[in-house]
């Protein structure tokens, strides 16, 4: 029984960065801007968060700074996509290179050539509430807020209209660009928080291989969850659960299942679900235009 509790709490822990980042993807793409640069924004957020947490000694400041770091990168993507009509996929890829490049570059500058930040003291980590890191609750709160925004508020409706039919939205007097800026910038902020919740919560430092593809998993979770905050959160929980399962099964004595096969399982399952049950994707219709 106790081990099951551990399994679920590890699931929540591993899902948190994915949930934040995936929500970021939802908010940007709902407004009509493709954000394939989540990975880079996450990486930059992870680095800045751990740097800030170490220099100020306050994990919450670090967490916030991580979000702001993601937001700064998102500014570039937003201006390129919305103002200059960029090819959004290309610009997003640029964010990925910039994000990882800047993070390790600055890390080497600030920490005397090391590509890792020094580990954070345990007392400086985000506090636990009922055996869960506070960020876990924040991730669920963020999901709820986004769901509420899209479902019940004028802001949400206008974001959706900017992504589904920008011309009609314009004709109705909606400032489409403004809402898209909002979408992309909050996307960067959320992805930054996602990175931060990895670097200063789950592990205690930043290193170059920390993110390695998690941003893309979050992107996949967003598509898997059909561009819906709750759906994306569930997809992230699924990916988090399988990560936790590898850790959990690895700890059982006499277990002979190869951890490699076990690790591959979520990706196979996702493919099967996509092929068998999901049907055509339901992206916002004006995505990328």
């Amino acid at each position: 029984m106790n081990s099951l509790v551990i399994l679920f709490s590890t699931t929540f822990m591993y899902s948190t960065p994915l949930i934040f980042t995936s929500l970021g993807g939802v908010v940007s793409e709902k407004s009509g801007v493709i954000n394939i640069g989540l990975e880079g924004m996450m990486t930059f957020g992870a680095f800045v968060a751990s740097w800030m947490a170490i220099t100020t000694g306050n994990p919450w400041l670090g967490f916030l700074a991580g979000g702001l770091a993601g937001l700064i990168l998102a500014c570039l993507h937003a201006v390129a996509s919305i103002l200059w009509g960029a090819n959004q996929v290309v610009s997003g890829m640029a964010m990925n290179f910039l994000g990882s490049g800047l993070s390790i570059f600055l890390c080497r500058i600030f920490f005397e050539g090391a590509s890792m930040t020094p580990p954070l003291d345990l007392s400086l980590k985000i506090p636990l509430i009922y055996n869960q890191y506070a960020t876990v609750y924040l991730a669920f709160l963020a999901t709820f807020i986004l769901w509420f925004i899209f479902k019940y508020t004028r802001l949400g409706l206008r974001l959706i209209s900017s992504g589904e039919h920008p011309k009609a939205a314009l004709a109705a007097g909606v400032n489409v660009s403004l809402y898209r800026y909002f979408g992309v910038l909050s996307s960067g902020f959320l992805a930054g928080l996602g990175g931060a919740s990895l670097s200063i919560v789950i592990v205690s430092n930043f290193r170059p291989t920390l993110i390695s593809g998690q941003g893309f998993i979050a992107l996949a979770a967003m598509i898997f969850g059909k561009w819906n905050p709750v759906g994306s959160m569930l997809a992230c929980l699924f990916f988090g659960f399988s990560q936790a399962l590898v850790v959990y099964v690895g700890g059982i004595e006499g277990m002979t299942v190869s951890s490699q096969i076990l690790s591959a399982l979520p990706y196979v399952l996702t493919l099967i679900v996509l092929v068998g049950f999901m049907g055509k994707s339901t992206a916002p219709s004006a995505l990328g235009q």
Partner: protein, 373 residues
């Protein structure tokens, strides 16, 4: 032509902003670029290392560019690379024919394995409407874990290591491998300093295959009706369907070719350089770099060729500033990011380019007026 100018202009801006970043960190940009330049071209063996580094980039760049032409975004070059590398390792280890049979066998079967793997994403898209970005991300991770599983597989695992056994000598693409260490070879090379230096790295035939691939891809895309149909599918799916093109089949075929190209990168890497595969903790970034190469080369086969040498040089020369100046070599990633960023926004670059053009044509006019007077 315009695309070439935009790429060159973006590269210039990449160096400029990279320089500013270096300057802000208290490192002299001129010094750093000088180290990079000498670290890339001052010795013959540097050139061979650049060629070795650029070879997989040509393949993965072509792979991504080819899929782009059909309107598909192949993030899966990484997974297809792994598939090709793993298949080549297996074939090269378990079979040991005469090189004239062995080498084509390993290349063809290894490439075909990767081709099927890539085709899977195309098939999922065509048949089930699964977004190719999503499926290729999943397939990348799947390939990584499958590869890791087989690296630990008894029989091919090299005892007490996290790598596989080496492939048989008969599958090697490395040039003059035995001769280089034979007495005659050593003696001959000692008399020819430049070639000796050039031959020191594992120079291999992969580059020739890559050059052939560039030409084949160009011919397919520009000179065949098959290529025309592929491009039409990418340009407008509905119009192509209306014109009677089987767009579903075209998507799968395009991804199969794209997968084969990325797979060739893995195959030639194993046969020419690494000779085995190791456990992967994370993706190595071949697919990622392929995307960069394709974008900087504006998805044209010849552009890809140039941009892979550019990127290969940058990556090889860039690492030299770490030891020489203690400057972070990650400035290279920043530069690549900046270059791609500007390539994404051609409309912004067009304005200054137009300005420069009019400036020069004005001057020419002015001259003509002057001579008339």
């Amino acid at each position: 032509m315009k695309k070439i100018i935009i790429s060159l202009f973006s590269i210039l801006l990449g160096f400029l902003i990279g320089g500013i970043v270096l300057k802000l960190s208290g490192i002299s940009p001129l010094e750093a670029y000088k180290v990079m330049f000498y670290g890339s071209f001052s010795q013959p063996n540097y050139i061979s290392y650049i060629i070795i580094r650029s070879t997989p980039l040509i393949f993965t760049g072509l792979s991504v560019a080819f899929a782009f032409k059909t309107g598909l975004f192949n993030i899966g070059a990484e997974g297809q690379f792994i598939t090709g590398a793993l298949a080549a390792t297996f074939l090269g280890y378990y079979f040991n024919f005469n090189p004239w049979l062995q080498i084509p066998l390993v290349i063809i079967v290894g490439t075909f394995a990767a081709s099927l793997y890539g085709g899977l994403a195309g098939f999922f898209k065509a048949r089930f409407g699964v977004h190719e970005v999503l499926s290729t991300i999943m397939l990348n991770w799947l390939a990584l874990y499958i590869s890791n599983y087989f690296v630990f597989y008894e029989g091919i695992r090299r005892p007490d290591t996290e790598t596989t056994e080496f492939i048989n000598q008969s599958s090697s693409l490395t040039l003059f491998e035995d001769w280089k260490i034979s007495e005659v070879g050593i003696e001959w090379l000692n008399q020819h300093e430049i070639l000796k230096s050039f031959m020191r790295p594992p120079v291999n035939a992969g580059i020739f295959l890559a050059l052939i691939a560039v030409i084949v891809v160009w011919v397919i895309l520009e000179k065949t009706s098959f290529g025309f149909k592929l491009k039409a599918t990418g340009f407008s799916l509905l119009a192509s369907k209306y014109a009677g093109i089987n767009t579903n089949a075209k998507m799968t075929q395009s991804m199969m070719i794209s997968g084969a190209l990325a797979g060739m990168a893995g195959v030639t890497h194993v046969m020419g350089v690494s000779k085995n595969v190791a456990v992967l903790a994370a993706h190595e970034g071949y697919g990622f770099d392929g995307i960069a190469v394709a974008l900087i080369g504006s998805t044209h086969p010849f552009g890809v060729l140039l941009s892979s040498f550019f990127l290969g040089t940058l990556k090889y020369g860039g690492q030299k500033i770490q030891s020489a100046l203690e400057a972070p070599s990650e400035v290279i990633s920043i530069m690549i990011g900046v270059i791609i960023f500007f390539i994404a926004i051609p409309s912004v670059l067009e304005l200054p380019i137009e300005k420069i053009k009019t400036f020069f044509s004005n001057r020419r006019l002015q001259k003509q007026v002057n001579t008339h007077e």
